[in-house]
């Protein structure tokens, strides 16, 4: 981006603001649907009642290589974990992760299961946690709005890192 101008921190403030606004309203979401939450994610992204596209989010990239944001929705099992890590590594920077539902957050109702990974944050860094089992589609939209706010106030020189936020 800009031959290292963004990373060096020498870009004018107003240009950075413009860049951030345009980034926040053209988020390409890769849908990583795993379990029950995948259907609620489908409702948030596909149902006319919720309709995520009015927020400037495009939920249909062909591959993770075109995506800015990945929504991990559902139970992450130990068998699935390496695949998730691999696809996250294929996404171009800056990339964001929303962990949707109790299972992806911490294991959820399978907290004592032998085959479930207790939280996707053990594998990849998470930006937004959306709690619920499963969360309502509105909760996922709230998470996306919070993420957009965060992108708008970002300083690209700091390499897009920050503390994770939990949707209340």
């Amino acid at each position: 981006m800009g031959l290292g101008l963004v990373e060096s921190g020498k870009m004018p403030k107003s240009l950075i603001k413009l860049l951030n606004i345009s980034r926040s309203y053209s988020l390409w979401v890769y849908q990583w649907g795993l379990a029950c939450c995948a259907i609620e994610m489908g409702a948030a992204f596909g149902a006319p009642r919720y309709d995520v596209m009015r927020l400037g989010v495009i939920p249909l990239p062909a591959s993770p290589r075109q995506a800015d944001l990945v929504v991990i929705s559902g139970t992450v099992t130990d068998k699935m974990a390496p695949v998730i890590r691999r696809l996250w590594e294929q996404m171009p920077d800056p990339k964001y992760v929303i962990s949707m539902g109790s299972c992806a957050n911490c294991g959820g109702p399978y907290w004592d299961s032998y085959s479930v990974t207790k939280g996707v944050d053990q594998i990849i860094p998470v930006d937004i946690y959306v709690p619920g089992c499963p969360p309502r589609p509105e909760a996922l939209l709230e998470g996306i709005v919070i993420l957009q706010d965060r992108i708008k106030n970002e300083d690209p020189a700091k390499r897009w890192v920050g503390e994770p936020i939990v949707v209340q």
């Binding site: 029950c36 995948a38 259907i39 409702a43 596909g46 149902a47 009642r49 099992t77 399978y110 299961s113």
Partner: protein
């Protein structure tokens, strides 16, 4: 110099030679195609490794287990009321239907019977979860064929059914409403009328899907005669539910072996189709949604009065014994085999889920089909990964 006719003659010979060469040289190569583990056609995470010869599948092997959560082990350390919360999430589209056979099996062991009103409300919610499950299938089948519009209709009209489930139980997805001996609560005021209103929307949706998909020439070309399961093969692989009925097997647990639900008192029909192809499976399910809407209307009209909870002890200890109860879930036969030793938790629970058997036919069914038809066949078999892997 050659004349025009000569040139035509030469061209004709050249074309013939080219055709002949193609016929000789058109060799196919083997290739391994990996589908999944993340693929929209599988409603979750099924992986299929297909050995191809040209564009035809020689051998397809499903790899399950990406969604294995260890249900049968977890049930051994949960009390009976806690297990209801857990089994909700096996088939996540028809959650309430998963609770019912487990509760019925536990009731059989405890020798408790739910009051009649609870039985009827259970049946209503059972059918509502069937509708919410199958509506998504009807829309999703379009997506497998490249038609994106039907799934938007499906999500739109599914919300009306989910609203009703939420109003009665408090949960859009996982109601956790069934208790041993009855239900958690009675229905809210005005619920029956609004449910009947939403059934009208469901019937409208079925008509719309029939217009959009069923009559479409492309849809028929892609589904008719593709993925045919003969009745005897379906029996051998243990197919159940709409998949078996689409192969001409006249078998429905709701009619033939109904335990603890109000189906014998209703006027309804078991639909079947003799073709056994992808089209038949779609057709049977669209009729099932209509039947379910009809049943909900009848149930709302004839709902008996009375309590919704029988007398059960505060701390539930199930006496020692074994019980197996199966019901006709949206995906097929789902049963729980409970072994109890008189403790707070069951000794062992074996879950017979429909999708596992329905999926196990894929190596047989996918042999010899073309690559684009893999998706159609998988979509029309309609399994849910939580139901396969548990």
């Amino acid at each position: 110099m050659t004349s025009v006719t000569d040139r035509q003659k030469l061209q004709y010979i050249a074309a013939q030679a080219a055709d002949a060469r193609v016929n000789v040289e058109l060799e196919t190569e083997g290739m391994t195609l990996n589908l999944g583990p993340q693929h929209p056609a599988t409603h979750g995470t099924l992986r299929i490794i297909a050995q191809l010869d040209g564009e035809q599948v020689v051998h397809a092997e499903p790899v399950a287990g990406y969604m294995h959560r260890g249900y049968e082990k977890l049930t051994e350390v949960r009390t009976y009321p806690q297990i209801t919360t857990l089994v909700n999430r096996i088939d996540w589209l028809g959650s309430f239907a998963n609770e019912v056979p487990f509760i019925l099996a536990a009731e059989q062991l405890m020798e408790v019977e739910a009051p009649e009103r609870a039985m009827w409300i259970r049946t209503i919610l059972f059918e509502l979860s069937r509708i919410s499950n199958l509506i998504l299938f009807l829309g999703d089948m379009g997506v497998q064929l490249g038609a994106v519009t039907p799934v938007f209709f499906a999500f739109r009209d599914r919300e009306f059914v989910l609203d009703q489930i939420e109003a009665a139980t408090g949960g859009r997805f996982h109601p956790n409403f069934d208790r041993i001996g009855g239900l958690k609560d009675d229905l809210p005021k005005g619920w029956l009328e609004s449910t009947k209103g939403s059934m009208d929307k469901v019937r409208e949706f079925c008509d719309q899907i029939e217009d959009l998909l069923l009559g479409s020439e492309i849809f028929q070309a892609r589904t008719r005669g593709i993925g045919i399961v003969p009745a005897d093969v379906a029996m051998q692989y243990g197919l159940s539910g709409a998949n078996a009925r689409a192969s001409g097997i006249d078998w429905d647990i709701r009619r033939d072996n109904c335990i603890g639900l109000a189906y014998p008192e209703l006027d309804w029909k078991v639909w079947k189709h003799t073709d056994g192809d992808s089209f038949a499976r779609f057709w049977v399910r669209i009729q099932e949604v209509r039947e379910a809407a009809k049943m909900v209307d009848q149930l709302c009209d004839g709902l008996p009065a009375g309590p919704v909870m029988a007398k059960v002890p505060r701390i539930i200890k199930v006496p020692a014994g074994e019980a197996y109860v199966a019901t006709e879930n949206p995906l097929g036969e789902m049963g729980y085999y409970i072994v109890s030793e008189g403790e707070l938790t069951p000794f062992r629970v074996k879950i017979r889920s429909a999708s596992f058997s329905n999926m196990s036919i894929t190596p047989w069914l996918l042999r010899g089909v073309y690559v684009p038809d893999i998706i159609t066949i998988l979509g029309s078999l309609y399994f849910i990964l939580g139901d396969i892997d548990r």
